[in-house]
Symmetry: C2
Subunit: 337 residues, 2 copies
């Protein structure tokens, strides 16, 4: 395939252009510069005083909160994107076109391991799994908090993906509303369910597993594949094969299997695209929704190897120089561990 | 203002969070690395053989196409995002969820000046104005081409904004469809017009000119202001004060006034944020639309001082650490020329 083509996302209807000729541009792929470090890492043991007090942690027996002896820490973000007191005053939309509303919520950082790892492949699987159990527990806790409708979990790896600290971490932003991208997916999935009685993600997953050209990995409980209408080169989706809308409803065994698949898949990406920056986002059903029959939780892996430029922001159409079939082949060809 | 707040865009309904506390993050603002140059600039005089043959140019009398002696050249993009033959076979949407359609169109590069300028402030105003007249003429030409419904003009300045070549240039992509972002603005503007009988951009502009806290510059025919719901720090809109939907309908005097305002405004930005990368996009009515009563052409200036990360892509909500009122004040305080 050499001619550019439009592809449309089955869930949200978004168009992208797969334009292989663009791959030949000079400097098409970003060489990631790691964030310049000055002074000690604020996320390493011994720097606990550099972060606000922890809200949850996985700790060695006998150690105290906010001191050393932890494996995973969840702390409020020092530079929060949302704030105020959730559930007090509730959500008031004031109506006028230019009347701002307080951005209520909580913005937390998950320090994923005490060792100064950068890539996920450097984090031992048992630590990664324990971390995801803690994150699942934190989702449940935040879901019980008055005023919280959604928690957006995301992870930035590398300077080009917006990471300002290299020590492996993720972020969780508890919101009083369902964000636009998730609302779009919920609407697309609900429409598909009304029309066909089926979950659009279950159908996609079954199709990708059978058709196999975009499939990256398949385990008994999970699939990883390159999105047909990928906005970003090497974009992937990781999802449970069995229908499940709510990430936080998973038991420990479910979390272990899911975490293992994400770990393998990110390790693959890190080997296929060394030093490549990427974002990972989790999309799950809102706490108060009745989306359980039609929505399907999943991770999206969004590598940042090329840059969104004027066309992407001005037109809303992503130009992707690497066809997902080609990306999947490259990803299948590296060993995940 | 220190607490984060949601703001909603009046035209498209997009929510952003203005989060001033984020401005204190280490490395919050990108230090732009200019693209590494190797070998001669492909857009400088003498390198005409490095680009495909010009489709339009402003030339000295007696010079030949594709040789030296030009001031502005429009050439096909060597690495096109769209291709094929427009108008032949027309637009066929094949229906199936995973059947791609050819991305038909033309992708052209506007080399804006023969001198190796990088910023717009380095381009003399008379050259900039002559360039915009040529771009307007090219819009008209492309608008008469069978199958073209929209031309997306955009400009990337600086590495962080996706520029791979530093020599001042812009791009025009002629499409067989109206891109998503423009379709969203058209729908928002049409809804407002149905409800109120008025153009939403005319109302916005009148409000911003009178209220003045986000106003950057006002000339008899144009206004430049920071968008109330800015996604990007220092984001601006430049628009004609008199209602006009179609950029390409402007006469030479209109182009001269508009080009002068854009030149002043970009020079301001370049002084307020030295070496800051930015995109500029032009939004105008589609060629075949009847949007003339409710749509309003404008430029959007999108500085790329912070990076879109997992939250922006995963949730669709931009985090902007600089309130537009603060940005406008900083921009007003620099001399544009």
């Amino acid at each position: 395939m050499t001619e550019p083509e439009y592809r449309r996302d089955s869930v949200v209807g978004r168009w992208v252009i797969i334009a292989p000729a663009r791959a030949d541009r000079p400097h098409e792929f970003v060489e990631t510069v790691r964030p310049a470090r000055s002074g000690p890492c604020p996320f390493c043991p011994g720097s606990e005083h550099d972060t606000p007090d922890e809200v949850a942690a996985l700790r060695n027996l006998g150690t105290s909160a906010n001191g050393p002896g932890w494996q995973v820490r969840i702390v409020p973000n020092k530079f929060p994107a949302v704030g105020g007191v959730l559930g007090v005053g509730a959500v008031v939309e004031l109506g006028g076109a230019m009347v701002p509303t307080p951005a209520l919520g909580r913005h937390e950082v998950v320090i994923e391991t005490e060792a100064h790892a950068v890539g996920v492949g450097e984090i031992p699987l048992d630590r990664w799994t324990a971390m995801w159990r803690l994150v699942r527990d934190r989702f449940r806790e935040l879901g019980r908090t008055a005023g919280v409708r959604y928690v957006q979990w995301f992870k930035n790896v590398g300077d080009a993906a917006g990471a300002s600290i290299e020590h492996a971490h993720a972020q969780m932003i508890a919101l009083d509303r369902v964000p636009e991208v998730v609302a779009g997916e919920l609407a697309g999935a609900a429409a598909h369910h009304r029309e066909t009685g089926r979950c659009v993600y279950c159908e996609l997953l079954t199709h990708e597993a059978a058709e196999a050209t975009r499939l990256v990995d398949l385990t008994p409980a999970h699939a990883a594949w390159c999105n047909y209408a990928s906005r970003f080169s090497y974009e992937m989706i990781v999802a449970p094969r069995r229908h499940a809308a709510d990430f936080a409803a998973q038991d420990d065994a479910g979390i272990a299997a899911a975490a293992a698949m994400l770990h393998r898949t990110l390790a693959r990406l890190e080997r296929a695209c060394p030093n490549g920056a990427y974002n990972v986002v989790l999309h799950t059903a809102p706490f108060d929704s009745s989306a359980s029959d039609h929505y399907h939780w999943h991770w999206e892996i969004l590598p940042r190897l090329t840059k969104a430029a004027g066309f992407e922001w001005g037109a809303g159409i992503h130009l992707n120089p690497v066809a997902p079939e080609q990306a999947a082949q490259a990803l299948r060809n590296v060993k995940p561990d």
